[in-house]
């Protein structure tokens, strides 16, 4: 078959036109993702913890491990037991295996003792975000501190920077891992795994931007405190009745 230069231009032009129209149509119709019901700008997440309700059962730790496939021996949330004994200068703090199996019996000699659940404080001015050399750790617009796994180098700067000890290096992925405030759950209208499974309601997920959220009443009615306020991290996990000995 003989193809003249003229034929080539005409046929080529037609093919090109069809292809470009097809590509444009595909972009108009196919590329647009389904609209997301969840609006980041409408939320500002945090947590309130009522120390006087925590019974140290470890349900939150187990729930977190199950929900987020946290590797064994690592914890995104854990419970500490503080025992302040009479005449002893130092207080005793323990958290056997992050309290994933609860606690052994407490000493009866303690002047006072209590449980403190801990997790990432999702600070507004997070030291971990500030030190990350590659920008893998970031604040989401709805107030959750997260790690971009595909960016993280595993340099551990953030692990050292976190004043609350909330981060660890994932032993298999070799990237930093931490509490995401169950972002996959809260963006679908569920509460976090730890709050869902707390039998006494000691911990509660809150949304500061929701005017009907119980957090506003909670902050008005109670004496609340954040951990290490002198670090000026603007932590968003508020503790009710927090003892001064807690670090």
């Amino acid at each position: 078959m003989d193809i003249s230069r003229r034929d080539l231009f005409i046929t080529g032009g037609k093919i090109l036109m069809v292809a470009s129209v097809g590509a444009t149509l595909e972009q108009i119709t196919g590329a647009e993702p389904a609209p997301d019901k969840y609006k980041m700008a409408d939320h500002w997440w945090g947590m309130i913890i009522d120390v006087g309700k925590c019974i140290g059962c470890g349900n939150c730790v187990r729930a977190c491990s199950n929900e987020n496939d946290v590797p064994e021996g690592y914890f995104r949330t854990w419970v500490e037991r503080y025992q302040v004994a009479e005449g002893e200068e130092n207080l005793r703090v323990d958290s056997p295996k992050g309290a994933i199996d609860g606690f052994p019996p407490s000493s009866n000699e303690a002047l006072k003792s209590f449980f403190i659940p801990k997790l990432c404080n999702h600070c507004v001015d997070s030291p971990c975000v500030q030190v990350c050399p590659v920008g893998a750790t970031f604040d989401s617009p709805d107030g959750v501190v997260m790690v971009d796994e595909s960016y993280c180098l595993g340099c551990r700067y953030c692990v050292q920077a976190c004043p609350y000890g909330c981060r660890y290096l994932h032993p298999e992925k070799n990237t930093v891992d931490k509490c995401t405030l169950c972002y996959h759950r809260i963006t679908q209208g569920l509460t976090t795994a730890c709050c869902e499974n707390c039998p006494t309601g000691a911990r509660q997920l809150v949304d500061f931007k929701n005017p009907k959220d119980p957090v506003h009443e909670f902050l008005r009615q109670n004496k609340v405190q954040v951990l290490k306020p002198y670090m000026a991290t603007k932590a968003k996990v508020y503790y009710k009745d927090l003892d001064g000995s807690v670090r």
């Binding site: 980041m40 729930a63 609860g102 970031f138 595909s150 996959h184 569920l190 509460t191 795994a193």
Partner: protein, 152 residues
């Protein structure tokens, strides 16, 4: 032109090199920076989707009650009204998705009740606690108490 190069060549040649370098920088930058980087802040929006794609293991209270409303009613009248189903029964989102695929196991009562209700000095004073050995002498809790509404 030749005169221009003759007099300004020492300026034009580095300028061309600079322009080429800037062009190369722009091309490399466009290729290396992920799509939509910086849309919401100094991060890749895809990272949010990655975290959100994690599967849910705990179906949540509202989902359980949709089918098991009889148990929920019984529980609502007792002290365990605010304890979520999965707090004792474990993560059962798979069971909620397909009830026949995963059958929930009964909780290990001997340990389950004790973890919350064993007497301990660190627990809040108002929380109901018993020294199990004195209280029941080894008899399992649910031989007397109904776990969904434990009051006798």
């Amino acid at each position: 032109m030749r005169r221009l190069f003759h007099e300004w060549g020492h300026l034009i040649r580095p300028a061309l090199v600079l322009l080429a370098a800037m062009g190369a920088f722009l091309v490399v930058r466009a290729a290396v920076i992920p799509k939509e980087f910086g849309k919401y802040g100094h991060f890749r929006p895809g990272a949010l989707d990655l975290v959100r794609s994690h599967p849910i293991h705990y179906a949540g209270q509202d989902t359980c009650v949709m089918c098991h409303d009889d148990q929920a009613k019984l529980r609502a009248s007792g002290k365990h009204a605010h304890v979520a189903c999965e707090a004792c029964h474990g993560p059962l989102a798979k069971h909620a998705d397909d009830p026949s695929a995963v059958k929930p196991k009964l909780p290990d009562v001997a340990n389950l009740c004790r973890r919350c209700h064993e007497k301990d000095a660190s627990k809040p004073k108002g929380f109901p606690q018993v020294a199990t050995v004195e209280h029941s002498g080894g008899v399992v809790c649910n031989s007397c108490h109904q776990p969904h509404n434990p009051h006798l």
